[in-house]
């Protein structure tokens, strides 16, 4: 794609929003704190939404059960990190990472494995039918949540952040939590890998084609079934990763956490436009910023800021900022 064709307007939204609110906030240090925190929050939201950009955005599967994989990842992390107290207790980030990285890997593996079963028994019969997808994945979500309660109990479980990842960094008066910076790093990696896979490799194309016409993709000689399973598993694994990140951010996990973030990540995808990773990132960043700004300026309205943002975007571009043509 050449530069001239590139649609830069949505990209400009993020800095535009940040600049526009500056006069209202007044103090630059406050603004800086809010902006950096908002962007970092956006990155975290992007991580938890990234799995859904694949499953919902590319495969067109309205997976209401996606949240369960997020919760699952977080709960697995409590078990893994709980067993690695020596590493989490250290003041050194590197040592901490020796615990957090395995936790991420295990969470992704578990979520991916469950995703495999989920695809086989829940999603496979309903490809292409949104209503049935809603129903059956809702059922899947309820079952998943209850099973989490059976395994880990219905209680809230603390997931303390490893010692070295706590605290804030100060830039003059402005402050930013260390953990948010870590999340930004993870988010950038996830974004990069996704973007590369989807736009630079044939896999992305195949998935999108498979959603439109399975039979034709098979007639071209590709094993779409395997591909779909693969994508679903990766989507679930990403949700698991998101769960670890989210859980560590909250520092506690509850079985209902999946359902709680569901609406949020759906909004992100709608703003971004189905199937667009870049769109999802922009959507997540906008939401992160917007909720911080409104939270500061008009806290009462914070509740509706996501919806208002979504409505405004849809009025501008009814398909989301980066929609696939249709």
């Amino acid at each position: 794609m050449n530069l001239k064709d590139f649609d830069w307007k949505p990209m400009a939204l993020v800095p535009l929003l940040a600049v526009l609110v500056l006069p209202f906030i007044g103090s630059t240090s406050t603004w800086l704190t809010l902006t950096i925190a908002g962007l970092a929050m956006g990155m975290i939201i992007f991580i938890i939404a990234s799995g859904l950009t694949l499953v919902f955005g590319l495969m067109d599967v309205l997976n209401f059960g996606h949240g369960v994989f997020i919760a699952l990842g977080a709960f697995v992390a409590t078990s893994v990190l709980g067993a690695m107290g020596d590493y989490t207790g250290s003041q050194s980030i590197l040592v901490n990472l020796m615990a957090v990285l395995p936790a991420m890997v295990v969470a992704m593996l578990v979520a991916g494995a469950i995703g495999l079963a989920f695809e086989r028994f829940i999603v496979r019969p309903v490809y292409g039918n949104h209503l049935k997808q809603i129903l059956i994945t809702m059922g899947g979500m309820i079952i998943g949540e209850e099973l989490i309660k059976v395994i880990w109990g219905p209680l809230q479980i603390p997931l303390p952040l490893p010692e070295g990842m706590r605290g804030t960094l100060l830039f003059g008066e402005a402050s930013i939590e260390k953990y948010r910076l870590i999340a930004v790093t993870v988010g950038v990696v996830v974004f990069g890998v996704l973007l590369w896979t989807l736009t630079r490799t044939k896999i992305g194309l195949l998935i999108r084609a498979g959603v439109q016409d399975r039979e034709m993709v098979e007639s071209l000689g590709y094993r779409i079934k395997v591909l779909f399973v693969g994508v679903f598993v990766v989507g679930s694994a990403l949700a698991g990763l998101g769960g670890v990140m989210w859980g560590l951010y909250q520092q506690s996990v509850i079985p209902q956490m999946g359902a709680q973030v569901n609406v949020l990540i759906f909004i992100v995808l709608i703003i971004g436009g189905l199937g667009s990773t870049t769109g999802a990132l922009i959507g997540a960043l906008l939401i992160g910023l917007m909720s911080n700004y409104t939270g500061f300026l008009v806290p009462k309205a914070a509740l509706f800021s996501n919806i208002a943002l979504m409505m405004a975007i849809l009025l501008w571009r009814p398909q989301g900022v980066y929609a696939l043509s249709k």
Partner: protein, 377 residues
């Protein structure tokens, strides 16, 4: 009547968002009955039978379960529920059926306030009791306070009661955030902007928060003590929810219950037996459940196991009874149990992530708290 079972309904959140709380109450209730009847489960020859019902945290369901309990199951009295919303929906049912409802542990003030009727008793603490005890813990001259609560009735009422009880300190800001807030940056920033330059020797953020994602971990990240010399204070909670308190060694507040505070006979029994049976200390609502059981047994002993509603009511009004928290007394005017609260301090060497380690500063006795009577009679 003698020889017939005494039937008690316990309606609570066996499932739903408050599942964890409800189950503690049930455990406490059964242990309390056991303790109060010396393991016989009988009072004056009548056996006590507890019928459990799950309100799932839904007021409409709770209401119809209470109707069923009174009408279909013919219970003599009912205990519960876990959530205030459910309790408020239940109150008129007790009046309709003219049967006693012993509220435990729902906290809303209006249960023993505007919405009260004479069939309602409460062993649980009220929001006011919570707030007043918390105020006692931080209320000093020269202190400036910003409150941080959730933007719904529980948060706003709590802050209001707290404000009413604070006499010497100055409250300069009230911050309300949506109930399920996850990103606290904006709210904190508003509080910091208000508090950092406020005149006063001591600056405190008083937090009242119920639910899954409390702001403590995030507050701790902010390093407020070091940056702006701001302290954090808050009330007690169930043990898992208090884990983040360890981020604030030395933080003060007031709590309804912590297993290590009370040294009386029932509490010692409760702690020991809970440890042997469940490998964990009793919690907030376990103590509450036990208190309710002990209140019921005390009342039944007084009426000689006569369960006629008017007999029960007159026995309970003004009745004092022992609980794991010491003696409680049902106040005549609004049937609220007057009880001690505990001013606590988080252990100075507390380790983040570990179980909350609270030290007792002072037991706040019932007569030290001026809990207003809000019933309209």
């Amino acid at each position: 009547q003698a020889g017939k079972d005494i039937r008690i309904a316990h309606i609570y959140s066996r499932t739903g968002p408050l599942e964890a709380y409800g189950k503690q109450t049930q455990t406490g209730l059964m242990m309390g009955l056991e303790y109060a009847t010396n393991g016989t489960m009988t009072v004056s020859g009548r056996k006590i039978v507890v019928i459990e019902k799950d309100d799932q945290g839904k007021p409409d369901l709770g209401k119809s379960l209470l109707q069923q309990a009174y009408a279909d199951d013919k219970v003599d009295l009912a205990i519960g529920p876990t959530s205030s919303g459910v309790a408020l929906a239940m109150l008129p049912v007790a009046e309709e059926y003219k049967k006693v409802l012993l509220v435990e542990p729902a906290v809303a003030d209006s249960i023993t306030g505007e919405r009260w009727n004479k069939y309602i008793f409460r062993t649980g603490r009220s929001s006011s009791q919570d707030a007043i005890s918390n105020a006692t813990a931080v209320d000093q001259p020269g202190t400036v306070i910003a409150t941080l609560g959730q933007d719904y009735a529980f948060g706003r009422d709590g802050v209001k009661a707290f404000k009413d009880a604070v006499k010497k300190a100055k409250i300069i800001h009230e911050e309300y955030l949506p109930q399920n807030t996850t990103d606290f940056t904006a709210g904190f920033q508003r509080i910091i902007d208000k508090l950092k330059d406020a005149p006063g020797q001591r600056k405190v953020i008083w937090v009242i928060w119920a639910g899954a994602t409390p702001p403590f971990a995030k507050l701790a990240e902010q390093d407020l003590k070091k940056r702006f010399n701001i302290d954090v204070a808050t009330g007690g909670n169930i043990l898992p929810a208090m884990v983040p308190y360890n981020n604030f060694p030395g933080m003060e507040g007031a709590s309804y219950y912590y297993f290590g505070f009370s040294k009386n006979q029932p509490n010692l029994w409760l702690v020991t037996n809970h440890y042997t049976r469940f490998k964990s200390p009793p919690d907030f609502f376990t103590a509450g459940g036990m208190s309710a059981a002990m209140a019921v047994v005390a009342a039944l002993k007084k009426t000689n196991a006569d369960t006629a509603t008017d007999k029960l009511i007159s026995a309970m009004e003004g009745m004092s009874f022992d609980t794991p928290k010491g003696m409680m007394t049902f106040r005549k005017e609004d049937h609220q149990a007057m009880q001690s609260m505990y001013h606590f301090r988080v252990a100075p060497g507390a380790r983040p992530g570990a179980m909350a380690d609270l030290h007792l500063v002072k037991e706040i006795k019932p007569n030290e708290m001026d809990v207003p009577i809000k019933v309209k009679r």
